[in-house]
């Protein structure tokens, strides 16, 4: 119902627009009637010429309107009022006159002419809201309900609350005959026409008031004077209707004569007459369309197919046997070369018909593909890179080997000055030895595997930390300069302990009493919470104050950041998706990289938020390292891939290399030289030159330099870790065979 009202509304509003009385809520009626009357006036005036012809305007009309129409026009107004009192005479549409047509002599309805400027629906209407027929709920959340003709916003009229509504229904007598107009967002009283329409629908009458269901039928074919009379006559049929036609006979005889004379051949076969004759089919130009691609031609015969080929083409017995055993589809040639001393002895080729047939099968059954044939030297596809000789120095030979008997050398670390190496194995032995000569200075024995080793990067102190069984031990190497020793001791075990943090951490920092300090015992031990597993990955911040630890189990992904000076540990992540494979501090910015199984996430530690997620496309990340400039990251995976990320460029790898035949275990960028190394389970170490340019336009240059072999693969494990000597282009590598090699340039 509302929709109907809504639709009707514009036309109504038009009529109402000029009427101020309308607002007062008076039962205004007859607006339309006014118009129609004017119409009538117009009609009569305009139809003047016609009216002359039809002096009797009044036909057999059915209502009083007709009488009013028929009456003089001057008292139309009174008539209107009278009409409007009776609901029946209410018209939405202009009233029609019934006249008798001059042509058919039948009464017909004559509607007044429509004057385009006044009568069209939207000409004089002043609907303030001109948004058109759009769903009004679009404006539900807005202060306005649309735009007027000038593009100004039409503000939403104020609407009262429920109480106001109720009061309105009580106060306003018209409230029950008004409906909500979505277009103006107000209640509008319904016009009399609409009320009439509603009433008619409610009662079940025809909504069109002018429709008369009881019209007298018009008799077209029946009735007086229209009876049809059958034209029957009793006259006899003429004779000619019973004798065969003479002219037909003549025509038939003509054909018969022609047949007898042979001019017409009956049952002439169509097939024999339409014998195929070639003609100049290409004389007129062809259609514009391109011809279909011609079928590929079979290859031309080569020397081997000759009846008398050079002898070297003849197959040996073994080749002949192989050819005969092969399936005919797998054969490279469909014939065996044969040699005949003379042409006379050449027999018929027994597969001739079959070969033609195969060719035809190819023509109509084989899918065809157009291929571009590359005519290039395959070596031109190999990228041109500078020669490794021009990129020296890089490690290219093994200078010495250190041995961990009966165990896998799991982790190594090189001191910041490059003179010392600590290495740990799975038996819990940690050895300290000199890089240059490989002499062992001291060894420590712990219970359980050594998971990770890391030398503190600070140069004014000297200690390293190692991860064993849910604990991190800090050890000061022997023979340290006294000043450094005291400084180190003060850093690791200050006399006055810093105040404990506000909220107690599950991590315990334990320092033995100063009396029992010795080189055999760790000076400081961090006890990680229980069931957190072995620490597998250490990463020092470049200032040497923070140590990030990843352990193999436990909550929070097993990541702890330990601050040495404050003796405080914190877990940076409450919860982390996926198992953490490794963590890294950004060398210059307060950023932190976390590698989970498939993604590398980059966090800003200062702002405590995620910066970006890198997707290397590796199924299981094993290791990663960041370039000293901090703009490039390499990520290695167990699926043999190495991804080079340009952090400025994209979250997808800049380059993906796959050259190891087994999983990549370890990666390391040299801190000063443009080198990086990767080690793998295939027992090889690959050295790359990696030059990074300062300008953003130049891509980093990656040149493979050298493959170092020498580690043995033991139980499927090869080289477990590689570390560069920070001062020299030397590489230290530890293998599953218990050997630790130093590679020098």
């Amino acid at each position: 119902m509302t929709s109907l009202v809504n639709h009707k509304r514009p036309s109504k509003r038009k009529n109402v627009a000029g009427d101020d009385v309308q607002q007062a809520g008076l039962p205004v009626n007859g607006n339309l009637e006014m118009l129609t009357d004017e119409e009538d006036e117009d009609d009569s005036s305009s139809d003047d010429g016609q009216v002359d012809e039809f002096p009797e305007i009044v036909g057999q009309s059915d209502s009083e309107e007709d009488s009013s129409d028929g009456e003089v026009l001057e008292d139309a107004d009174e008539d209107e009022d009278a009409d409007n009192d009776s609901d029946d005479s209410l018209h939405i549409f202009p009233k029609a006159k019934t006249i008798v047509s001059t042509i058919t002599k039948q009464p017909k309805l004559l509607y007044p002419e429509i004057e385009p400027e006044y009568d069209s629906d939207s000409s004089t209407e002043e609907a303030p809201n001109r948004v058109g027929n759009v769903p009004m709920h679009w404006y539900d959340d807005l202060p306005h309900i649309g735009y007027d003709m000038n593009g100004k916003k039409v503000l939403r009229p104020a609407r009262g609350d429920e109480l106001d509504k109720f009061l309105a229904t009580v106060d306003d007598s018209e409230a029950w005959t008004s409906a909500f107009d979505k277009n103006t967002q107000t209640d509008k009283p319904l016009t009399t026409e609409e009320l009439d329409l509603i009433r008619r629908l409610y009662v079940g009458e025809n909504p069109d008031a002018s429709y008369d269901p009881y019209e007298p039928t018009i008799e077209w074919f029946t009735g007086k004077g229209k009876e049809e009379i059958m034209p029957l006559s009793g006259a006899l049929q003429p004779k000619r209707r019973f004798v065969p036609s003479k002219w037909e006979k003549k025509k038939v005889m003509k054909i018969v004569r022609a047949i007898r004379q042979g001019r017409i051949v009956p049952n002439k076969s169509k097939t024999s007459t339409s014998k195929f004759e070639p003609f100049a089919i290409w004389s007129e130009s062809s259609l514009a369309q391109a011809p279909p691609l011609p079928a590929p031609k079979p290859p031309l015969p080569t020397n081997a197919e000759s009846y008398n080929p050079p002898e070297e083409y003849l197959p040996s017995d073994q080749e002949r046997k192989e050819w005969e055993e092969q399936d005919s589809e797998d054969r490279e040639r469909n014939f065996l070369p044969q040699k005949f001393p003379s042409l006379r002895l050449v027999p018929a080729y027994d597969r001739f018909v079959k070969e033609r047939f195969d060719r035809q099968l190819d023509l109509y059954l084989a899918p065809r593909v157009q291929r571009v044939k590359l005519n290039i030297d395959p070596n031109s596809l190999i990228p041109k890179l500078p020669s490794p000789n021009s990129l020296r120095p890089f490690p290219n030979y093994r200078s010495l080997q250190f041995h961990h008997p009966n165990s896998r050398a799991r982790c190594i670390s090189v001191s910041p000055d490059g003179a010392w190496v600590v290495s740990g194995d799975e038996n819990g032995v940690v050895s300290l030895w000199e890089t240059i000569i490989g002499r062992e200075v001291k060894w420590w024995k712990f219970d359980g595997k050594i998971g990770a080793l890391a030398w503190c990067p600070k140069t004014d102190v000297s200690y390293f930390c190692l991860g064993v069984d849910e604990a991190i031990h800090f050890i000061i190497p022997p023979n340290v300069d006294a000043m450094i020793l005291s400084l180190t001791q003060s850093v690791l075990a200050p006399s006055t302990l810093p105040p404990p943090p506000a909220n107690p951490s599950p991590v315990k920092w334990v320092t033995p009493p100063s009396a029992s300090w010795s080189v055999d015992k760790p000076i400081l031990t961090i006890q990680l919470p229980s069931s957190s597993g072995i620490p597998t990955n250490f990463c020092w911040h470049h200032r040497g104050d923070y140590l990030a630890v990843v352990s193999s189990g436990g909550a929070q992904g097993g990541v702890w950041i330990n601050q040495i000076t404050k003796r405080h540990s914190q877990a940076p992540f409450k919860k982390i998706k996926g198992a953490v494979q490794g963590v890294l501090f950004h060398p210059t910015k307060p950023h932190f990289f976390v590698a989970t199984q498939q993604y590398v996430r980059m966090y800003n530690l200062a702002e405590q938020k995620l910066i970006k997620t890198l997707t290397p496309g590796i199924r299981w990340i094993s290791c990663m390292d960041v370039h000293s400039s901090g703009d490039h990251l390499i990520v290695g995976g167990y699926d043999r891939k190495l991804c080079w990320f340009d952090l400025e460029l994209s979250e997808k790898p800049y380059k993906v290399l796959r050259y190891h035949s087994r999983a990549i275990r370890s990666l390391h960028f040299h801190p000063t030289y443009p080198l990086f190394a990767s080690s793998s389970d295939d027992g090889s170490i690959q050295i790359f030159h990696s030059r990074v340019y300062n300008d953003l336009m130049t891509d980093p240059l990656i040149v493979p330099l050298k493959i170092l072999r020498g580690h043995h693969v033991v139980e499927g494990l090869g080289v477990l870790q590689v570390k560069w000597n920070p001062k020299h282009p030397w590489l230290v590598s530890s293998g599953a065979d218990g050997k630790i090699s130093v590679w020098c340039s």
Binding site: N267, K268, S269, K270, T271, S272, F276, P278, F279, A280, I281, W282, S286, L287, Q289, P291, P292, A295, K297, L300, P301, T302, N303, E305, S306, Y307, N308, P309, P310, E311, E312, Y313, F335, Q338, F340, P341, L343, R344, V346, A348, F352, V353, K354, R356, F357, R359, Q360, L363, Y364, A366, P367, P378, N379, L381, I382, P383, S387, P388, P704, L705
Partner: protein, 613 residues
């Protein structure tokens, strides 16, 4: 928000139709569909993603372009095929009821289809058609030699034979044969027609048997199309050459197995008198062009006659050949007729090399054991005259005793002739007896070769393909070159021997090889040899070191480069690497093939040397 994409409404799912769907859409049987595809040249396509094209199913199916099928649906032949189906039903019913007369009238009004619109569609220009007649010619040559039986109607074979004769006649007339190759499968011919090379294979003249696994219906459908195509092409080339098509057939000669000679070439300008008079009127205008051409020809003849072998010296005056209606004079006539409008085609065919008249000075006699179909065609298309005994068919222009015969093509071993009179001996001494391969090798070489290696009863030099091989393939050396190779090998071995004489060098060499092989046994042997030669151990060691150094230097230089390249391969993208590996694979395959042949050649030469020495 964009329009929602519905699966299976666009892309591959719409562009491809499976074969069964196509048959369903066209409402015809599979056999009819096959026939339509063959005639219209529609073939299956391979979608990039089979699953997408087949509504998610990965079952093996054949795909066609949907547009191709829509194109077939509008084919008038499809309607004819449906009519034919109705006709077959009616006929079988009439036959079943024994209504013979209605069956006959049905048979007389059998629906037939024409293929000319298809020819026009598939080959919009004449060049397109000529480019694609290779297969058609092969088929027609094959079917002209097949026995007709229940499956293969006689008319088809006859028509094929007719087309073969017409084609050969045209090639003879236009002298457009270029290359011939006798293979174990048959004779390959290559001709140049309308600037396109046309290659066809004709089987040797034996009865071919159709194997059981060959579907003759498919072949006959192809043949249907090919016959129509060829007759249109022949019509065009004959009329372009100013000849009447089809050339009139002399039935009496044909029955005497005259082959090509049964057909007569007729100038089309000779037929309508009115046309001739206009042609005559035009001839006065075209005279200058004609003369220019003639002079060019004569110049060509002079220049090439110098290059031809010695045999040209004993040129004999040509006899007027009255019997052969078409060879010399008819070949010039149509050119005159065509000279009215020098088209690009006629101009480009003008500077024909003299190799087309290679055999012009000679007269050949074909012995009865050689195939007339091959040699009559080849010799005559290169200007030679050819006679043959009555056993090879009628229509020979001269008989065996003709004194003009210069060459006899013989393909049987030499037999001692005892009862020969002097006249016969005289005749024998004047003629050259050659094996058939000489003809073909002369044609392929473009010059007259020496007859001596091809003489009767001689072991023939190998017959090589004139079409060449792929680039980098093994090139079999000619006989002369083969000797060179043998010499090379000999030299090699001689050198070895010479070196063996000079002891110290030999030792060096041995040492080098020993070092190279890194075989302790070899090294030990070398050491022993040195000791035997009286060399001290210290010297020996020094030498070993030297050799080692030399070698390692050499090896390291090359290996370093190789290793560097190997390492650079790491930096290739996946696509490049795959391409590289593919190329390397095919290269390696070609190389190994070549090496194998070279190796075998060397072996053969060695064996030969052993056999002789």
């Amino acid at each position: 928000m964009g329009k929602l994409k519905v699966k299976g409404k666009a892309g591959a799912a719409k562009n491809f139709t499976t074969r069964s769907l196509a048959v369903k859409k066209l409402q015809c049987s599979l056999a009819d569909f096959r026939r339509l595809c063959i005639l219209k040249g529609i073939f299956p396509r391979e979608p990039r993603n089979k699953k997408k094209a087949n509504k998610g199913s990965s079952a093996p199916t054949t795909f066609y372009y949907t547009k191709d099928i829509a194109y077939l649906a509008h084919e008038p032949i499809l309607k004819k095929l449906r009519e034919h189906k109705a006709f077959a039903k009616k006929l079988s019913r009439a036959l079943g009821r024994g209504e013979w007369s209605s069956a006959k009238s049905l048979e007389d009004n059998k629906p037939i289809y024409r293929l000319d619109h298809i020819i026009k569609e598939r080959y919009p220009t004449f060049i397109d058609a000529v480019r694609d007649i290779d297969d058609a010619l092969c088929m027609v040559f094959l079917f002209s030699s097949l026995p007709s039986d229940g499956r293969l109607p006689k008319e088809v074979v006859e028509n094929c034979a007719k087309l073969v004769a017409e084609w050969q006649l045209y090639i003879l007339h236009s002298k457009s044969l270029r290359k011939v190759f006798l293979s174990i499968k048959g004779a390959y011919y290559q001709a140049e027609v309308a600037d396109q090379t046309v290659t066809w294979l004709a089987p040797y003249q034996f009865t071919q048997n159709v194997p059981a696994d060959v579907d003759l219906r498919v072949m006959l459908t192809f043949l249907e199309l090919y016959q129509t195509l060829l007759s249109f092409v022949f019509f065009k080339i004959y009329t372009d050459a100013g000849l009447v098509y089809p050339p009139p057939l002399d039935i009496r000669k044909d029955e005497g197995a005259a082959g090509i000679n049964a057909l007569t070439l007729q100038d089309s300008s000779r037929q309508p008198l009115a046309q001739q008079s206009t042609a005559l009127a035009k001839e006065s205008l075209s005279i200058t062009a004609k003369e220019v051409r003639r002079t060019i020809k004569s110049i060509n003849a002079q220049t090439t006659s110098e290059t031809v072998d010695i045999e040209m010296a004993e040129e004999k005056p040509l006899e007027p050949e009255a019997e052969e209606e078409f060879i010399p004079h008819s070949s010039t006539k149509p050119q005159e007729a065509a000279s009215e409008l020098p088209t690009f085609l006629s101009l480009s065919s003008l500077p024909q090399t003299m190799s087309t008249n290679l055999f012009a000075p000679y007269t050949f006699w074909l012995s009865r054991e050689t195939s007339r179909s091959i040699f009559e065609f080849t010799v005559r298309s290169f200007g030679g005259r050819m006679g043959w005994p009555g056993s090879s068919g009628g229509g020979s222009p001269f008989d065996e005793t003709d004194p003009s015969i210069t060459h006899v093509i013989m393909d049987r071993p030499v037999v001692e002739r005892k009862n020969e009179d002097s006249a016969q001996q005289e005749l024998r001494s004047r003629r050259k007896y050659i094996q058939p391969q000489w003809i073909i090798d002369c044609i392929n070489a473009g010059k007259i070769l020496l007859e001596e290696p091809y003489g009767q009863g001689k072991t023939l030099p190998p017959h090589l393909s004139p079409f060449g091989e792929y680039e980098g393939a093994y090139v079999p050396a000619h006989e002369g070159a083969g000797e060179d190779a043998a010499e090379l090998i000999e030299e090699d071995e001689e050198e070895d021997e010479a070196e063996a004489d000079e002891q110290s060098e030999a030792q060096d060499r041995e040492m080098a090889t020993a070092v190279a092989s890194k075989d302790p046994a070899a090294l030990r042997a070398a050491e022993l040899a040195a000791e035997a030669a009286g060399l001290e151990y210290g010297d020996f060691e020094a030498k070993v070191k030297q050799a080692n150094k030399k070698r390692s230097k050499k090896v390291s230089e090359t290996s370093v480069e190789v290793a560097e390249q190997d390492m650079n391969k790491m930096m290739m993208s996946n696509k490049q690497r795959k391409l590289y590996e593919k190329m390397k694979y095919s290269q390696g395959k070609k190389n190994s093939e070549r090496l194998k042949l070279e190796e075998r050649k060397k072996d053969l030469l060695r064996q030969k040397r052993k056999g002789t020495s």
